[in-house]
Symmetry: C2
Subunit: 194 residues, 2 copies
């Protein structure tokens, strides 16, 4: 019964912010990346590129660059989560990907009008596939917010991102350490016009 399994996966996925250090298996990673590339894209353009970073030293370096960038970064809008993230980044032990063993960075062409939507649908596939294979995941925005910072760009390009690409989002993935409780859904978000 595809119906129940899929709806149950969609309903049961949580955003996980506490991971075990154990790395996910190559088969699990393949399932996530395979899920990503089967998302829809504008005109089936598939201009996205996904970078799964599993090297812990490189991830920690990236975390240091994120911390450094936040110090001088000024948010371009008043979204509270941005200021909150900047503030948190100054604290001892800050880790923008919650110490997940794998971070999948979704990138795309900067001036492509569907870049964000395409990457977000692919990230949602990753989150659902992660839940299906017994992993937790979380949508990570920091690399998108800081995507124009030179030290972030240079490091990601050194890891393989093309010079003319930008980060649209990322997924932290790993085995769940502390399960998240179900978050209530807000009222008045759905309307049917018959």
């Amino acid at each position: 019964m595809m119906r129940e399994e899929v709806l149950s996966c969609i309903r049961g996925r949580r955003s996980t912010r506490s991971f075990q250090p154990e790395q996910i298996s190559p088969e699990q990673l393949d399932a996530l990346l395979e899920a990503a590339i089967w998302a829809p894209s504008g005109g089936n353009s598939q201009t996205w590129k996904f970078f799964a970073i599993q090297n812990q030293e490189k991830l920690l370096t990236l975390n240091e660059l994120v911390r450094m960038s936040f110090q001088t970064w000024v948010p371009d809008d008043d979204y509270a989560a941005k200021l909150n993230a900047k503030e948190k980044s100054a604290r001892e032990g800050y880790n923008f990907y919650f110490h997940a063993p794998t971070l999948i960075v979704a990138t795309n062409r900067p001036h492509y009008a569907n870049a964000m939507a395409d990457c977000a649908t692919a990230l949602q596939n990753i989150f659902l596939a992660a839940h299906a294979v017994g992993l937790g995941s979380c949508y990570i925005n920091q690399l998108r917010w800081l995507r124009d910072e030179d030290i972030i760009r240079q490091y990601l390009c050194a890891l393989g991102m093309p010079e003319d690409y930008v980060v649209c989002g990322a997924a932290a993935v790993g085995y769940i350490k502390t399960p998240m409780p179900e978050q209530a859904r807000k009222a008045d978000t759905v309307y049917i016009i018959r």
Copy 2:
């Protein structure tokens, strides 16, 4: 086995552009809307609002407003799909939602930095849920591109969209008339840094 069913659903979903006129059942619609609201949202804000339009007269009126808007609309970038859509809208029999019996419009706050990402993850949930319950679906961009056009805004607000909301995307949904073939995946979109 959640694993296989979910991965198979992700892998088997197609963008459908040819629908049967038969309306989807209330149970199917509920499954899609339930899937939408269980997507992740920035800081679990759930600021989205989804409008499922199933009234065929209202959908056809919306189609006429889209055609009218396209006549004077100038794309704000050089994304080929926009000019293509504008050109197609002048043709006899144009229908921006491919005559699907249901159109689910995803809206959000205009200045919320995660508006697009949140709506796109919710739309992907809708597409997957649609596939799981035996329906086809397609990502529809026209209402987003035309979201600042007065006649589009006024009509959507008359249908219930709050004055301070904007369209981020939409999903055309219905029974599949002509199945779409599998589209090959492009090479060089996935990189693993171990």
